[in-house]
Amino acid sequence: MLRRRLNRLFGRDERKVDSRTIYVGHRPCPATEALIPPKFCDNRIVSSKYTVWNFLPKNLFEQFRRIANFYFLIIFLVQVIVDTPTSPVTSGLPLFFVITVTAIKQGYEDWLRHKADNEVNKYLVTVLEDGRRACKESEKIKVGDVVEVVEDETFPCDLILLQSSREDETCFVTTASLDGESNHKTHYTVPDTERNLESLSATIECEQPQPDLYKFVGRMHIYRNNQEPAVRSLGPENLLLKGATLKNTQKIYGVAVYSGMETKMALNYQGKSQKRSAVEKSINAFLLVYLCILVSKALVCTTLKYVWQNRPGQDEPWYNQKTQKEKDTNLYLKMFTDFLSFMVLFNFIIPVSMYVTVEMQKFLGSFFISWDKDFFDPEIQEGALVNTSDLNEELGQVEYVFTDKTGTLTQNNMEFIECCIDGFQYKYADSGTELDGFCVTDGPGNILQQKAGREKEELFLRALCLCHTVQVKEATGQGDGVADCVEDQVDGVMGLDGETVGPADLGGFIASSPDEVALVKGAMKYGFKFLGMESKNMRVMNRNNDVETYELLHVLNFDPVRRRMSVIVRTKSGDTMLFCKGADSSIFPRVRQEEVDKIRMHVERNATEGYRTLCVAYKLLSREEYDQADTGLREAKLALQDREEKLMAVYNQVETGMSLIGATAVEDRLQEEAAETMEALQGAGMKVWVLTGDKMETAKSTCYACRLFQRSTELLELTVRTLVDLGRKREERLHELLLDYHKRAVQDAPPIKAGVTRSWSSANQDYGFIIDGATLSLVLNSSPDSNSSCYKSLFLQICQNCTTVLCCRMAPLQKAQIVKMVKNCKGSPITLSIGDGANDVSMILEAHVGIGIKGREGRQAVRNSDYAIPKLKHLKKLLLGHGHLYYVRIAHLVQYFFYKNLCFILPQFLYQFFCGYSQQPLYDAAYLTMYNICFTSMPILANSLLEQHICMEVLMDNAALYRDVAKNAMLGWGPFLYWTLLGVYQGLLFFFGVRFLFSNPALQDNGQVFGNWSYGTIVFTVLVFTVTLKLAMDTRHWTWINHFVIWGSLAFYMFFSFFWGGIIWPFLRQQRLYFVFANMLSSVSAWLIIILLILLSLLPEILLLVLRKPRGPHSRQKKPVVQSGEGETQSPRSSARPLLMKTFSDESNTIL
């Protein structure tokens, strides 16, 4: 106590203290001399980034942290300060525009976040203060407050349940918005607390906040008048989490233990950091290259300028005297300003407009996703949703897919399929509800058509009805006194006979696992109805419509290690029975062997069919056995230390020597086209990892059903089960297994050639890897010695060599951890996470691309995702179709932009050699500014929005095409070099072509000569036409928009040039281009050189296009024309391609 208080005095160390003490209702407790109000954070949730005051500086700072923005700012400042060839407006205006638009967008987004925060923080809650109920804003709740929550409200902070309006001291919550599980969970009040909360005097000691949703350890000291304080243990079943919703319970009271950013929800919430695509990284890399080119150009020019000026007579020829100011300036300062001037002159090589165009392309392009009617789901009346447009192209680069299981791969909709009683198979047919309606399909071997004894059948069905934690859903909409109503109804039903369906109508059950509901419903089909709990009694209606009552003595809860659960009940006749159900692997060793063999066959067959199988066993407990178990359980439940271990020991002791009755098979229906989608993804070279919070068996069977695991797949399992099998230390076993698997999967695997790396269809042995959460945490954060990093890399290597990795029993943050680990591994592959529940949010946020499935319930995933689609099957089109196209489009956009600016600025650089390195611009200021904004921006934008180098259907049909663009193939250094060389070639050609023409500047038939602006205009005309035609050549998909924009911008260039040169502009001091363009057009030689240079610069491209080998049958074209000619089997493609499309290739096919 003293130590704790000391610690609290040194406030800061609080984190290090492993527990916190909470005074319920802030009332001092007798045991402590004085109440020291502990300091905890308030209950405010802050997800916003800015406030009104810091918005401007913080936002500007963040924007200028972008390398490009900073660069443009520098250029702008240089133009303002130094005498430069172009005016500051040319770079200042676009920069201002970009910054403002971004700031407005970000400000708006933050405003939305503020609004959402306020909605949560200002929510009014009722707090008990000194016996009075007071309304408080949610953000003002302090740790220790007693809070009242009524039905369908969410809990404002993490609460310890003190009191519930339900008689059985429980309440139901759904944690749909937390971990995605929409079922009702039962939470219990702290036992034996007083009904009168005002007089309750207690302290709660609990651990410091930690993000694990399922872990909570604490204890409560209850002080009664001068009595020895009673101690109650607190577990996760007593803790109500912020964000969960109260259901089926009128109201509860709870004491706040964690508040605000310390709640488990907030700790599990990761800030939505901005995601950057790989393309953006490539852009930044190219930017650096161009920056180097720019700086070296400026350096070369500056150096040459001073070398040249050193030659006699060149520094200051009589005709171009310096001003006094120039003469006075320090030589080095002059050099520096010259350098800056050159920088400004060449700065157009890195255009502001590229960022604008890229942003626009992404923004506009993302509409095609939300417009796509293939993504429209009639069930929920919604299509795809795009939350961020920054990552469109990333969809075409995915290497790892992390998918959630429940609700994503499966529909989370369990159905009882069949059961097996004592070795006989029963398959339920819809025909009847009587047991006679059982139809025996294929019994094992010779005993076909036989049935198990009636006794066994009934025992089995009773077991199904009793061994669960299912609650009967109480009638809703009837307001108060719910519990009573139900009783009445149940009685009423019992009064009637026969076929009337009880309250346990379909969907009338509430359970922590949908399997249990399925089983109870299954039993119902065979005539045994579970009617619900009545105080401690379970009521079951048997086939004769008699109600049997069983006293529930103990529930031996399910846990992932035991992988079974049991109940101990006492029958009316006084027999104590234990019913147990669980995974085959955990039941078989605990029952008599001769029974096992009869059932194992069924179980295995069912498992391979993708059903979830459970075995059911029972045991009659003698009085001694029961007493022993009872005391053991009670002791263990009260233990403060190692409670779980102790409970486990008792469980294991009780659950032995049972006899096996039968097995069940439950189907979790897969999502539509789940298997096809997964196959397509794997065909596209993506590795699929299933991350689920579910049990291993279930997850495994789903993987089989989705064809992620094939029959031939060799499974490498690294789970708690494989670790505890031997009586050795876990770490040792882990080490051993890891090494073994590594040897099998990595070292022994035949060396794969680069080309085949991504092909899974090869004859190689497929490996599937299975790991569970507990083991994963062992691997990832095992003892801080040197081994851990070694484990991690071993683990990663194994995983990378496996076709499919299944991670089960994952906590939300563990999912994110896995994603992060893969994301950061060598080669930093692009990851995609897809999920539907709030438990997937962390991994959705962590992955490069997060996809949310618009499930029927819970919008958390959708809200935090980058893209949301209604169904899993849509993922295929999203990645293989849209993703591929977006990647190709943006890659081309980026390369083209760099290219066109290189050949734009290169002549200007070369011109410096002919103007005495005086920073004379080759092009007029209007051309310099308009080039990127008007003349060449629209065609590339249209192209990057509409281009389909391969049409969508072909992309979808041939998943392998996705591999063509994998690993950022179009933005590698190879393609970049190609485009750069092309730019250099064309730039040189433009400049020197005109240079040789101008060796005699008399280009008109009247003998008059052309000056420098004519020179620049000719180069510029060639430039604009060449880059536009180059784009036209790259365009494979000419819609009318492409035609309009390409020819339109050329026409606009002509029109603008005429117009710009046709008028004396009153606001311009220099009419430099006055009639230059018109004069140029009157010269035949100018025409001829323009045509010549355009053709010559495009020649290599044309040659490459023609000589390049056609890439396979599905390269870039539709199937042969013959198909559409037949008319009958119209491919879906042909409908998309109306008459307009008449291709040269078709003709050439026939000609050649």
Partner: protein
């Protein structure tokens, strides 16, 4: 976070545009189109190239350097910059008729009219006749903005100040007597420069507009005396001035000086001996420059330029050759795949 509903999007429009199914033309540059195309383009280019080459060949050019670097040159005596009002002679003879109309250019080398500060050093408002700018020329004209007495210089700036001021007179020696070849000083500058861009202030006499201003220091006479004989060729619209003010793109340039279109010489310069009398004023040796005169006739393509014709011939034949190569490649490798 408690906001439960996002607005529902309705069924997306099923239009060709939103579904990315716009009808599209999908060109393929296949051999079938490229090979004939290349042959056609190649042949066309060769044709143009031949025409250009022949035209260029038919243009006669006579180029004479008169800087006076060589001691043998008559102008050597004038190359000393301190020597004012020096005249020298350049004699040449023509064996054939120099077909007219003959254009007479002067040329300068290593002269950087394209320098930025030089080119910017002028006041276009002044040159468009705005009297306000006669008083206060633009600062870009510095150091030729004001003279030592702070009088504004009109026309201001380095560009105007350094106007070429050598003058030429061409005589044909007929039987030992010098016969003046008449020069036409009109139509040597761009029509738009002469008629629109450059304007004299609307003050008569023109001289009054220049009150309170001084002439550029290098000039021997003020702007309003550039051509006293013809008011429409005087001041800022003097065509020699206009020609000078249109900056050359490259450091080696020529500018049109006169046309020979009149009298006996309308058809060209007949064979015979000629003497060009040069008033040698313009210093170029200080910066290593050269001066030359060029007589040339022009064609539809302008002055003589072999480059264009040769380039067309080369590119044209390149196209034809490449189409041949492509044909061979296709014949060898592509046919089996096509069926």
């Amino acid at each position: 976070m408690m906001k439960e509903e996002l607005e529902t999007t309705n069924r997306p429009d099923n239009t060709a545009f939103t579904q990315q199914r716009l009808p599209a033309w999908q060109p393929m540059l296949s051999a079938g189109i490229v090979i004939p195309g290349f042959v056609l383009i190649g042949l066309a280019f060769i044709g143009i190239g031949v025409a250009l080459f022949i035209t260029s060949q038919n243009i006669t050019v006579l180029e004479k350097d008169y800087t006076g670097v060589e001691t043998t040159s008559d102008c050597y005596k004038c190359s000393n910059p301190s020597d004012k009002n020096c005249t020298c002679k350049l004699e040449f003879s023509l064996s054939n008729l120099f077909e007219g109309p003959v254009f007479f250019y002067y040329g300068l080398s290593n002269y950087f009219q394209s320098q930025r500060s030089y080119g910017a050093s002028k006041d276009e408002y002044q040159l468009s006749g705005d009297l306000d700018y006669f008083k206060t020329p633009i600062s870009a004209c510095s150091p030729y903005q004001y003279d030592a007495n702070q009088n504004p210089i009109v026309p201001c700036g380095s560009l105007a100040n350094s106007m070429f001021n050598d003058t030429f007179k061409l005589y044909q020696i007929v039987n030992g007597t010098k016969k003046l070849v008449p020069f036409d000083g009109k139509g040597i500058a761009w029509w738009t420069d002469y008629n629109i861009k450059y304007r004299n202030p609307s003050v008569t006499p023109l001289k009054n507009a220049f009150n309170g201003t001084v002439k550029p220091s290098f000039w021997s006479k003020p702007a309003y005396e550039l051509d006293t004989s013809d008011p429409s060729n005087n001041g800022f619209v003097n065509q020699d001035f206009l020609v000078w003010m249109r900056r050359a793109a490259l450091p080696d340039f020529r500018k049109l000086y006169r046309r020979i279109t009149e009298g006996d010489y309308a058809r060209g310069l007949p064979a015979g001996n000629y003497s060009l009398e040069i008033a040698y004023n313009y210093p170029v040796l200080s910066f290593g420059g050269r001066k030359k005169v060029v007589f040339s006739n022009v064609s539809w393509m302008g002055g003589k330029n072999q480059f264009l014709g040769i380039a067309y011939l080369v590119v044209g034949s390149l196209c034809v050759v490449m189409s041949m190569v492509m044909l061979i490649v296709y014949a060898k490798f592509k046919f089996p795949e096509d069926d």
